[in-house]
């Protein structure tokens, strides 16, 4: 580790992995509730399990992004972190606030939680993914501001590279767009606009900048390819991501009561959204192909390549599948959306955080790369989690297509719950794939403790 303060990242990564485990446990619980409706009812109702599953995802990815930034920025800026103590303090505040919020979801009825946290003073609760009590949201803003200040000061007073500037832009965007979650208009159309300004502009806007910069950083480190080459790719990728992603927000405006022109704008621009992901695949393949060294951390290289491929499939292909307005007219809010959501989040954001963890964790533990056994176990976990996610996506896609046909397209449409009964086989298969994913995650955690022969590092 080049700078001591990079070690702060370890705290964030450990918390991220712990919350990831929680997310998957609630995922498999909920997967079972799809077919056994009263499983764990009334202790953990489906709506609560779903809220915990999605909120844990967001929180652990934020921990992952913050940890990645704390590791990456000092090295790129060639200086110690501006205030390591602030990073540690914010970690504990964020962890305690996050844990309390999740526990409150589980222990207190949501309406009562809104009362207890005085939501009526500044109502922000009740919207999907943004269910956090207002007080938690204020906490997130404080943590984000302190984080941006710390990272920003490190970048501004140190070496400025394309990677840390793109990362900083993405992180500032993440913080700024979250502020829309505090505006909760009475008009439902307006409400949806501002909700998507957070959700869409995060995952199909600024998070792509974060992802591209993290991937570029790891690829520079593991391949030894010239920074200039990677930076040129990065410029084109982020330009395409922003050009397509910003106006592409329109694909969420098709059926919310917005003007008709959004059906054209949303369709055309979101049809371009696979392009940056395709370029990321081309970029990762190209850089690994031109590598100047065989880095001993093969697991990190695998995660990096896997990120590019799975992001293209999940965000690009599965996004395009249902993004055109005439198609979305039938597919909106079906299991096809769930299929896309699962593979896109896993491929783009889960995998890029795991790539950073895979690269940096051995270094923070005093090694260049994990020992051979640890890497083998980690690669097994990669394949188990990735293949099972492919199957989860395929089963949900199958469920979604059957759902669209039976419920919305056929001459005699069937009611929602009748269709749910007919597609139960897909849910059972998805649950089995989810359990394999959990096994993969357990192996991933075990890889940090596996003992074995150390790897040798030969500079090419």
């Amino acid at each position: 580790m080049k700078y001591e303060s990079q070690g702060v990242a370890k705290l964030y990564f450990i918390a991220a992995i712990a919350l990831f485990v929680g997310q998957i446990l609630f995922g498999v619980t909920m997967g079972l509730q799809y077919v056994i409706g009263d499983f764990l009812f009334p202790e953990i109702p489906f709506n609560v399990a779903r809220m915990v599953h999605t909120n844990l995802l967001i929180v652990w990815l934020l921990f992952g992004f913050m940890g990645s930034a704390y590791y990456l920025v000092p090295e790129e800026a060639e200086r110690e972190l501006f205030a390591p103590w602030l990073a540690k303090l914010m970690f504990w505040i964020f962890l305690v606030a996050g844990a309390l919020t999740i526990l409150s979801y589980l222990l207190v009825p949501y309406a009562r939680l809104a009362e207890l946290t005085m939501n009526d003073l500044l109502p922000t609760m009740g919207r999907e993914f943004l269910e956090q009590p207002t007080i938690t949201k204020i906490g997130i803003v404080i943590v984000a501001l302190a984080f941006i200040f710390n990272i920003g000061m490190t970048v501004l007073t140190g070496r400025k590279t394309v990677i840390n500037l793109v990362l900083l832009t993405g992180l500032v965007g993440l913080a700024v767009f979250f502020l829309f979650s505090f505006y909760n208009p009475d008009n439902l159309v307006m409400d949806k606009y501002f909700w998507w300004f957070v959700v869409h502009l995060w995952v199909e806007g600024v998070w792509e900048l974060i992802m591209a910069s993290l991937l570029a950083y790891v690829l520079i480190k593991v391949t030894g390819v010239d920074r200039e080459v990677i930076e040129k790719w990065l410029y084109i990728i982020i330009a395409m991501a922003l050009i397509s992603g910003l106006v592409g927000t329109g694909h969420h405006f098709f059926w919310i009561g917005a003007p008709d022109y959004w059906q054209w704008l949303g369709s055309v621009f979101s049809a371009l959204e696979p392009i940056p992901f395709f370029m990321m695949t081309l970029f990762a393949f190209n850089v690994v192909n031109k590598r100047r060294r065989d880095h001993p951390n093969k697991a990190a290289v695998l995660w990096a390549l896997g990120t590019a491929v799975m992001a293209f499939l999940g965000a690009g292909v599965w996004g395009f599948l249902h993004t055109l307005a005439p198609v979305n007219y039938y597919t909106h809010g079906t299991q096809i959306t769930a299929a896309h959501g699962h593979m896109a989040f896993y491929g783009a954001y889960v995998m890029v955080v795991l790539t950073m963890i895979s690269y940096s964790m051995p270094i923070m533990r005093g090694q260049k790369a994990g020992n051979i056994k640890a890497q083998v176990v980690e690669m097994w976990s990669f394949w188990l989690m990735t293949i099972s996610m492919v199957f989860i996506t395929l089963f949900l896609t199958g469920a979604g297509i059957a759902q669209v046909y039976l419920q919305r397209y056929s001459d005699d449409p069937l009611p929602f719950m009748v269709v749910q009964e007919k597609i139960a086989i897909f849910y059972w298969l998805r649950e089995a794939a989810g359990l394999v994913f959990l096994i993969g995650l357990i192996l991933y955690i075990y890889s940090f403790f596996a003992k074995g022969k150390e790897v040798e590092f030969v500079e090419g």
Binding site: F285, K298, V301, V309, F312, L313, V317, W318, T397, I401
Partner: protein, 119 residues
């Protein structure tokens, strides 16, 4: 442009034509690929990538014909299961053909043959 550079250019153009045929320019991309094949010499990197492109595109075409045949034989256009299989095929298997073609394109830029042991 010397002969080696010309073959390298043909190799990358063949890989690009193969990718285009699988994505935005079906048939036209394949005709361009056949045209490039005619221009290349035996035992050159250009010929290698033209042949590779033809093979992968033929494999994708055969897979498509089989899927279409199964669709008509097993369910017809009015069965939900037909659409489950056909759409799942397109978004997954055809996307994998595109990924393989992308990897071939990247390899062609280096002037080296395709290998599987890059990790």
């Amino acid at each position: 442009m010397n002969a080696e550079e010309l073959e390298l250019k043909r190799a990358s153009l063949s890989a690009l034509a193969s990718l285009l045929n699988l994505t935005v320019l079906p048939v036209i991309g394949f005709i361009f690929l056949l045209f490039l094949y005619k221009q290349t010499q035996a035992q050159t990197i250009g010929r290698y990538y033209a042949v590779l492109g033809i093979k992968i595109n033929l494999a994708a075409a055969i897979a498509l014909i089989i899927v279409t045949g199964l669709m008509l034989l097993l369910g017809g256009f009015y069965s939900p299961w037909t659409w489950v299989f056909v759409i799942s095929y397109f978004v997954f298997v055809h996307a994998l053909f595109i990924l393989v073609a992308t990897w071939i394109l990247v390899r062609s830029w280096t002037g080296k043959k395709l290998t599987t042991t890059f990790l």
